[in-house]
Symmetry: C2
Subunit: 155 residues, 2 copies
């Protein structure tokens, strides 16, 4: 069974709902606004609890809870570090799964820059200086329009 | 001022915070889980209130509130329709800004399929049948790694 997106599926009732949908599962893991802002800061290079709390502007308790959830979700991992004369603390760093969130984070950035007032930063490719964007492409390299997407069941 | 992502920014404090950040603004508009699930269903082709409520599995009141917010955010628009013998109702359809959320929605789908248990659908390109994915590329066509992203202020 395969279906095309956008308008042609108005009658379909066979697309995964709830826990069977990977979009929903992703949102259950990282769909909290504070969680995504913490991830944004980790992508920007922050890793220490105090720094994350300050940059996101939430309470210690809220940040601790969200960070615990992100670790449980396998997106962040805790790495011990110790400064001279201080007790051991933990830094939060991205796992492979966490790094794989980059397209989603950049897609949110791109949309907000284009469609909400206030603009946004320019993201460029270090090697060539050209602006970067998130694209929908197939393995053959074609840029794929929404009308040309086919969603098929994996099994 | 330009900065590179990932680990090299641990000391930076000049990246936009709060309302000045387009990621945050996007999440304020569409970061609610129910809102994104409603959008998912609109991308899949649903447009009528009853259909959206049923597919997302929320109450009428919650769906109505989220849909109102999505219309206010400029992501959906309401279009009147009328079936024979019934009063005029409204269908919810994507605006241009709404369609532009496709990369973000697909990026969430892609991540959930890869990194949460339960798998997900295969998304393919209708024309050539090849699997589709969300990629980070520059205007020169290079696939850009996270370490090669530069975030610069626009003004």
């Amino acid at each position: 069974m395969t279906v095309r997106l956008t308008g042609r599926l108005a009658q379909r009732d066979d697309v995964p709902l709830g826990d069977r949908c990977p979009i929903d599962r992703t949102l259950q893991l990282i769909g909290n606004r504070t969680a995504l802002l913490l991830l944004r800061e980790v992508f920007y290079g922050a890793s220490r609890f105090d720094s994350l709390v300050k940059r996101v502007g939430v309470t210690d308790a809220v940040a601790a809870q969200r960070l615990r959830e992100l670790v449980e979700a396998g997106v962040l991992t805790k790495e011990p570090y110790r400064e001279p004369g201080q007790r051991t603390r933990h830094a939060y760093v991205l796992t492979t799964a966490g790094h794989d969130l980059l397209p989603a984070v950049l897609a949110l950035l791109q949309w907000g820059t284009a469609h909400s007032s206030g603009g946004g930063p320019i993201v460029t490719h270090a090697d060539c200086g050209e602006p970067v964007q998130v694209e929908v492409r197939c393995a053959a390299g074609h840029v794929v329009d929404e009308d040309d997407l086919v969603v098929g069941s994996r099994r």
